[in-house]
Symmetry: D3
Amino acid sequence: MRPSKRPSDAMREVSLTRGVSRHAEGSCLVKFGDTHVLCTASLEERVPGWLKGSGKGWVTAEYGMLPRATHERMRREAASGKQSGRTQEIQRLVGRSLRAVIDLQALGERQITVDCDVVQADGGTRTAAITGGFVALADCLAWMEGRGMIDRRKVIRDHVAAISCGIHNGTPVLDLDYVEDSAAETDANFVMTGSGGIVEIQGTAEGAPFSQDELLALMALAKKGIGELVEHQKRVLSEAAA
Amino acid sequence: MRPSKRPSDAMREVSLTRGVSRHAEGSCLVKFGDTHVLCTASLEERVPGWLKGSGKGWVTAEYGMLPRATHERMRREAASGKQSGRTQEIQRLVGRSLRAVIDLQALGERQITVDCDVVQADGGTRTAAITGGFVALADCLAWMEGRGMIDRRKVIRDHVAAISCGIHNGTPVLDLDYVEDSAAETDANFVMTGSGGIVEIQGTAEGAPFSQDELLALMALAKKGIGELVEHQKRVLSEAAA
Amino acid sequence: MRPSKRPSDAMREVSLTRGVSRHAEGSCLVKFGDTHVLCTASLEERVPGWLKGSGKGWVTAEYGMLPRATHERMRREAASGKQSGRTQEIQRLVGRSLRAVIDLQALGERQITVDCDVVQADGGTRTAAITGGFVALADCLAWMEGRGMIDRRKVIRDHVAAISCGIHNGTPVLDLDYVEDSAAETDANFVMTGSGGIVEIQGTAEGAPFSQDELLALMALAKKGIGELVEHQKRVLSEAAA
Amino acid sequence: MRPSKRPSDAMREVSLTRGVSRHAEGSCLVKFGDTHVLCTASLEERVPGWLKGSGKGWVTAEYGMLPRATHERMRREAASGKQSGRTQEIQRLVGRSLRAVIDLQALGERQITVDCDVVQADGGTRTAAITGGFVALADCLAWMEGRGMIDRRKVIRDHVAAISCGIHNGTPVLDLDYVEDSAAETDANFVMTGSGGIVEIQGTAEGAPFSQDELLALMALAKKGIGELVEHQKRVLSEAAA
Amino acid sequence: MRPSKRPSDAMREVSLTRGVSRHAEGSCLVKFGDTHVLCTASLEERVPGWLKGSGKGWVTAEYGMLPRATHERMRREAASGKQSGRTQEIQRLVGRSLRAVIDLQALGERQITVDCDVVQADGGTRTAAITGGFVALADCLAWMEGRGMIDRRKVIRDHVAAISCGIHNGTPVLDLDYVEDSAAETDANFVMTGSGGIVEIQGTAEGAPFSQDELLALMALAKKGIGELVEHQKRVLSEAAA
Amino acid sequence: MRPSKRPSDAMREVSLTRGVSRHAEGSCLVKFGDTHVLCTASLEERVPGWLKGSGKGWVTAEYGMLPRATHERMRREAASGKQSGRTQEIQRLVGRSLRAVIDLQALGERQITVDCDVVQADGGTRTAAITGGFVALADCLAWMEGRGMIDRRKVIRDHVAAISCGIHNGTPVLDLDYVEDSAAETDANFVMTGSGGIVEIQGTAEGAPFSQDELLALMALAKKGIGELVEHQKRVLSEAAA
């Protein structure tokens, strides 16, 4: 039995709440159980220097954690004067994942920044950030379409969502919370599209190395979980915007 | 008529929600209308170097804004590598204000850090931070008392809350929102205790200088507003903790 | 009796010496007793990005302390790699205070930077900086007028000066030195114009909160002190430039 | 045909030269074709604070690139004042990979830092760094064993090496050089042990998402490549130290 | 004729004023013509980590320029977040030069920091800093001797002073001011002791390389100038302290 | 007898290997005994802002040390977030030395950056950097001439090389290694041109001050050594490029 008492293929309760920010062009508060991430998508009429004049736009992500999102208070990155390696690794992953389903040409020469700020952490913050960040991004694109700036169908090529899996006590399990993650022998994050394509896979042996069979077992769980997340995204995005 | 349509001595709707963080010893989500600040109080069994061995504790505050808390996205301070002068000014003010009602000797050699993170901004974030930060701090002290660490009545000497006032279109008004603040000729922040003592006053002429009579008019409004905020604090703190 | 033996409404000896810098367009060495601040005003034919093309100019201030301006040597901010919160707070205050009496439109699209460097500190450095910074700024504007760049009378709308007051041992006193400041129960800085308007007021309870009556007593002292400072400014500015 | 003209399952010429640093306890210059990485292992009799008193040691890695290791000169990270997200991501990966085959308890309370500095880059620098870093680490442990500090067999549990694979022009290929990497649709890095266990897998879709079958094809190539690298490591480590 | 109209072997007017800082253990305002440097010596009962327990003390120097010490305002180093290479080079030189005449063993385990802040610059700031820094240091040692902490004669082994020379318009000249320095073909700084030993020599060809004969001509000028500076130091140090 | 057993006027074995970088326009691995420095020259079609439109080019240098180039591992400057004062001092010296033999007008509005990275250190890294940096720079200019960009003979006015000398155990010796440098009473670095002109001289008394005669003895050694280095440069540059 895993610590969370969940069946090995069960995710935590997921919620995706749109329109939580008064100012952002798109926003989503995503919860994977006790992991809560506030995602906002901000449109700017500028692109990074290396894209100027290219006709192409850019989607990027930033990630942060409130100091007391975690069990012990962590030092505020703004006060320590730099973002940790972990923070940079995660925000690069979120940005790549979102760009994987966006047609930057169809977006036009503009930048959308998706900020993912962890309000409360209990494992899986990067996968929640990708899943909720997609909803915020989609709403930003809807906002743009409403103003005649883009054809949203051309810009978004597919859904994208993410989940973590791990081998806990010898058993492959879906959607690790913090306690499970700390004890897992192997930990893997999967990012996939709505049509089941793999966008990113990151698997790490925390203790002993893992085998190809174990990786495939984790991937099977991830497919199930991401399928459910994409359904969830579709359901909330089909509702009228907040 | 002020832009918010409120009478000149009316505050925005205020809410103080306790227990919003699973991890922090005390927490409060404070809303002054569309200004939302998440306050957490974190206890640490250490003090700054200059207090070691003194038997006295410390209360400090940190302040931050999510990048899209504002109408236009602002650069993330963790990414730019430093906290702005404005951020430092505010967090110093919040820390001083909270310490004004705390007996650091009775707290004992421990530090409580009150993090005030602005989730959404619409003017008055520093006054909301002080008002909500007090509630988070009080709950942290209750948590400590529950573990026999302190006698809470000796540590908290009084309530503390804060409000901004300003002269808008020639009229003194209470609790400026962003639009009013931008247009105010004079802007003043007041921090007062439950018993009506002044802890801090910061008044600034944005355009023409102001007179002593105008300052007194603003102070009268502030007393009324802070009186209401302290009542609100007392009401929510008298309820069973979340 | 206050530690300085001064009557409660007496300032320290003040001196304002113009023309102390060979290079700056305007300069003033200001002394409030043992507090000595070197102020220089530097003209640059550029403005911050957000003012480009606006036709308006800008006045800004920077503040620093020599490492051994204080009783104990402090770490050099250039060596520690950042300006402290206190430094930023003060330089923002000095800049706002000076801009309060300047017509930025009449200045034209140029920037004047007033550097206030504390050579020796004994309390009240920010108020000395504002008072001496105004003289340096006025001389810079005279220098510009001498070259036909501006009409000085249109640019300077009034004088501005500042003083600190505090409640020491229960008595309101004017112009705190370091020893008095350390022991004061309440400490307030006032910035006022030559015509008696209030530009900025910052009052802080260091111990017990203070009352409105106490604030008014401090303000009465401040008016007297600032009146004397403005007279002093007028006297030295009426002399031929150094 | 891939740009390098190599068969799809052929690696570039690999060389591992031990003893290239006069000062380091272990060192290895690793070449994967035109990618050259200088790896040194440095022993220090101290551990990070959180391991003090634990009896356990630590292995960590740092990564850097000489400014003109690349086709266009890149800004020196020491001059820009921070390590890029990419640099931090890579050095965290190298450290995790090396620790995966080390018994930190058997190492004792000491730290070994493996510095991987890219002298010339042509794709695959991180995989070369892991492969060569292992040799430097093994020689450092031999140096320690020669001084009676450890039992090397207990400290090193297995070999570890790494290789990149990718899908280029629709074909899975082994060991991408820079030109191939830039054009690959999918890019994956594999870190495996001598006994074939997976330590880390990082797969990224650069264009269209990839399928599980494609991932398995890449993994088959990686197994072949890493097998050859481990044989190479064993061969050079069996020779007398330089 | 050199721009300053001085004979080739004539220095600018030099003044050394002791006791200019109320707080510092030793201080000196040094003027070489229009170059003015404020030097303070600060005693601290601590040494750098690598000297702890050695019984030896340390003398170090820091250097800074007020932003408008120069003809054009320079950016404040505290604001730009780092000290320039030039600043670091100079403060290292000043520290080495002062240590060359100090017996660190006889000083005992304490640190003296000599801060050299350029209030006005007109060439030769580093040589003025060394010459005035020595006076501040000597007064700090006198202060210590007055409290029975050291035997000053054992700590100070000799005087030290510095001067710049250069080849201007083909002629070797002594003590370059800014205009001469900018036009000099060769520029050399000399640091020498009271007994004529060379502590440091730094010669740089600004245009064409220079010859050994030219270097010797510059050195002859430097000996003369430093001899005068040392006499000046002795004269002011023989007076009762301010 | 000096520790290295070399005669007092003998240099270590020197090697200059051209064409060691696949990407750089010019490169040279220079060895002075166990001191190894990798020099690359990188051409960029841009100049610093203050040269734009001047028609003149720029040559600059950067210097770094791999963390384990030294006996004890040093902290990586990219990780500590800044370059040390020593690093900046050296790279400024290297840049000045190289510019001394270059006609910046004839170079045209382009920048060449010479990166000098110490792969292994055993004393004299800055003199090796200058000597090898010149070869890399010469090859970069040859590369440019081959593309019709410049007339190399007009750009390079002379050779430049550097060597350190010191007084060890009372005897002037040439080309100090690390052990000798640590024990030397006086240490001087000389930079000279092929025709024997002095570009830069930096002499420092590490213990007692030194005399003019000692300086001349060191200079005589330096002339001999630099003469040999220039011959070496000419020999390798006369060979066909790698």
